[in-house]
C-alpha cells in the first residue's frame, strides 16, 4: 500500500469515527434520560399528575434530558455531519 493511500484510509477511518461519535451523542443523551426515568420513575410527575402544581408538571428532569438529546440530534447534528464530510472530502 502506498503512503498516500494509507494516509487516505486513515483519514477516512478517523472521519467515519467522528461522524459515528457525533451521531451517537444525542441518542446516548436521550437514552440516559429514558434509563433515568425507568430507574427513578418518581422523578416523572406525569406518571402521577393528580394534585401536582405547575412546576412539578413542567420541570421533569428525565424528560428534560431526553428533550436536550433529541433537539441536539435533530437541530445541530445533521448540518455538522454534512460540514464534517465536506471538509474531509479530498
Amino acid at each position: 500500500m502506498s503512503t498516500e493511500l494509507a494516509s487516505e484510509v486513515t483519514t477516512t477511518t478517523r472521519s467515519l469515527a467522528r461522524v459515528y461519535v457525533l451521531s451517537g451523542l444525542g441518542p446516548a443523551t436521550a437514552l440516559a434520560g429514558v434509563l433515568w426515568a425507568i430507574v427513578q420513575p418518581y422523578r416523572l410527575t406525569l406518571l402521577h399528575p393528580h394534585g401536582q402544581g405547575f412546576w412539578w408538571l413542567a420541570v421533569e428532569p428525565p424528560l428534560l434530558v431526553i428533550l436536550v438529546g433529541v433537539l441536539f440530534h435533530l437541530l445541530v447534528v445533521p448540518g455538522l455531519v454534512e460540514d464534517l464530510e465536506a471538509a474531509e472530502r479530498p
Binding site: R18, L25, T29, W55, V59, P61, L64, L80, D83, L84
Partner: protein
C-alpha cells in the same frame, strides 16, 4: 407561582447539559468545521450569556443571606462576561484569544462562590454535599478553560472543558431541596417533602 429551588437547579442543569453537548460536538469536529455555519459559533456563548442573565432573578428571589446573594450575583456577572467575550470573539469584534480567559475566571469565581456560600458540612444533606462537590469540580477543572485559552488546538483541553459541563449538569440534576446523602441526613436539616 415561584418554582421550588430544586426546579431552578434542574432548569440550569438542562442549560449546562446543552452547553456540554455543543462544546463536545465542537471538540469532536474541530473549531474550523464547527464555525462553518455562523449560527453555530454563537450557540454556546449565547447559551452561557442567557444562563448568566437568568441567574439574576435567582439572585433576587432565591437567596436567603448576603453571602448567597453575593455568590449568585458573582455567577451572573461572570457567566455573562464569559458569554459576551466568546460572542465578541465569534463575531470578530474581539481579536485577542486571551479573551477566552474570561471563562477561566468564571470557573474560578464559581468554584470559590460555591465553597464560600455553602455553610453546612459535606454530609449535612444532599444539597450541601453537591455544593461542596460542585465548588471543587469547578476549581479542579479550571485548567481546562485555561489550557483552551492558551493552547486552543489541544483536544484534551476542549474535551475536558466540554465534559465538565456535562458532569456539572449531572450534579445539578441530582440536587434536591432536602434529601439524604449516602443515607445520611442531619436531624436539624428538616424532613424530606417527597
Amino acid at each position: 407561582m415561584m418554582p421550588p429551588a430544586e426546579h431552578v437547579h434542574w432548569l440550569f442543569a438542562t442549560g449546562f447539559l446543552a452547553l456540554g453537548l455543543f462544546l463536545l460536538a465542537e471538540a469532536i469536529v474541530g473549531t474550523e468545521v464547527w464555525q462553518k455555519r455562523p449560527w453555530r459559533s454563537y450557540l454556546w456563548p449565547s447559551t452561557m450569556f442567557l444562563l448568566g442573565l437568568f441567574m439574576w432573578p435567582v439572585m433576587v428571589f432565591f437567596t436567603s443571606s448576603t453571602l448567597h446573594m453575593i455568590a449568585h450575583g458573582a455567577w451572573a456577572e461572570w457567566m455573562m462576561l464569559a458569554g459576551a467575550a466568546e460572542l465578541g470573539l465569534a463575531r470578530g469584534k474581539l481579536k485577542s484569544p486571551l479573551w477566552r480567559l474570561a471563562i477561566f475566571g468564571a470557573f474560578v469565581v464559581t468554584g470559590i462562590a460555591f465553597l464560600a456560600h455553602e455553610q453546612n458540612p459535606w454530609l449535612f444533606q444532599r444539597s450541601a454535599f453537591l455544593h461542596h462537590l460542585l465548588g471543587w469540580t469547578f476549581l479542579v477543572a479550571a485548567p481546562f478553560p485555561l489550557g483552551r485559552a492558551l493552547r486552543p488546538r489541544m483536544a484534551v483541553f476542549a474535551t475536558g472543558f466540554a465534559l465538565t459541563f456535562v458532569v456539572v449538569a449531572v450534579m445539578l440534576y441530582a440536587d434536591r431541596d432536602l434529601a439524604p446523602i449516602f443515607g445520611r441526613l442531619s436531624p436539624v436539616a428538616g424532613v424530606p417533602h417527597r
